[in-house]
């Protein structure tokens, strides 16, 4: 039992899953802070399709998400990523990825 607890503590924090809702042609929240190892899930509530696309040093692309579809990104690298909807470039979001 003690050994199991020690292993659990040594393994570090449990990765979390964060949700960004896309509604009204906006990302909610527009800025999100996560930790390396966490997963971010975008869910599109709008009628029109969207993407969450980052093309800086940290890259990902959910591809087109139709209404109620989700896309996800596993944060592997620390940094600040600014992303957009590739279909609607006026839609912007920021993902801050902290090292742990």
């Amino acid at each position: 039992m003690i050994l199991w607890l020690l292993l659990l503590l040594a393994s570090g924090p449990v990765p979390k899953t964060h949700t960004v809702e896309i509604r009204g042609m906006e990302f909610h929240p527009a800025e999100l802070t996560v930790t390396v190892g966490d997963t971010v899930v975008w869910i599109n509530h709008d009628i029109v399709p969207h993407t969450a696309t980052a093309s800086t040093s940290i890259k990902w692309d959910t591809g087109q998400l139709t209404q109620d579809q989700t896309g996800r990104y596993l944060a592997r690298k620390a940094g600040v990523a600014h992303y957009v909807c590739a279909l609607h470039p006026t839609m912007k979001g920021t993902l801050v990825i902290r090292k742990e």
């Binding site: 009204g24 029109v48 399709p49 279909l87 609607h88 470039p89 006026t90």
Partner: protein, 191 residues
Amino acid sequence: MSAFHRLAALALPFTLTAALHAQATPAGPAPASAPDLSDPEVAHVAVTANSIDIDLAKFAQTRSHNAAVKQFAATMITDHSAVNTQAAALAKKLGVTPADNAVSQSLQSGAAQARKSLEPLSGAAFDRAYIAREVAYHQAVLDAIDKVLIPTTENAELKKLLEDVRPAVATHLEHAKQLHTQLAAPAKTGQ
């Protein structure tokens, strides 16, 4: 009588915008004489209005060589198709079968006029004219949604659809305005 009649108000801004595609000034608040259309006819008007922008976007994709303009056109096709799908689904749910009518024909006539004015253009001139038309078109639609449709619609489902569509139209307008500004810049240095 039916909330679907409110959609008829879209017809005049669309027609005016199509006819005066280069003008950014919309027709203003509620048209004084909304056409007296049946529900099936109004449903047809709504679908036609989306289809017009889809068709023009398809034309723009074949004519433009500007990556940003082509992307904008692709988004118009994708988004207006999605809205059309929702509008058609709602019409079906409410038991409305779209029927061709004079307003739809007028919209199509206005669209043909817009297409005709774009036809001889190419390169940067085409891009500017197409995007200017898109700015005016979406501004007119937005005005119709804000000033006529949402405030007066009583049917809850139709009202929600309008409220859901409204941010997309506003985003299209903002996108088109940004492109319009970008396209204006090289034109000054090129001539």
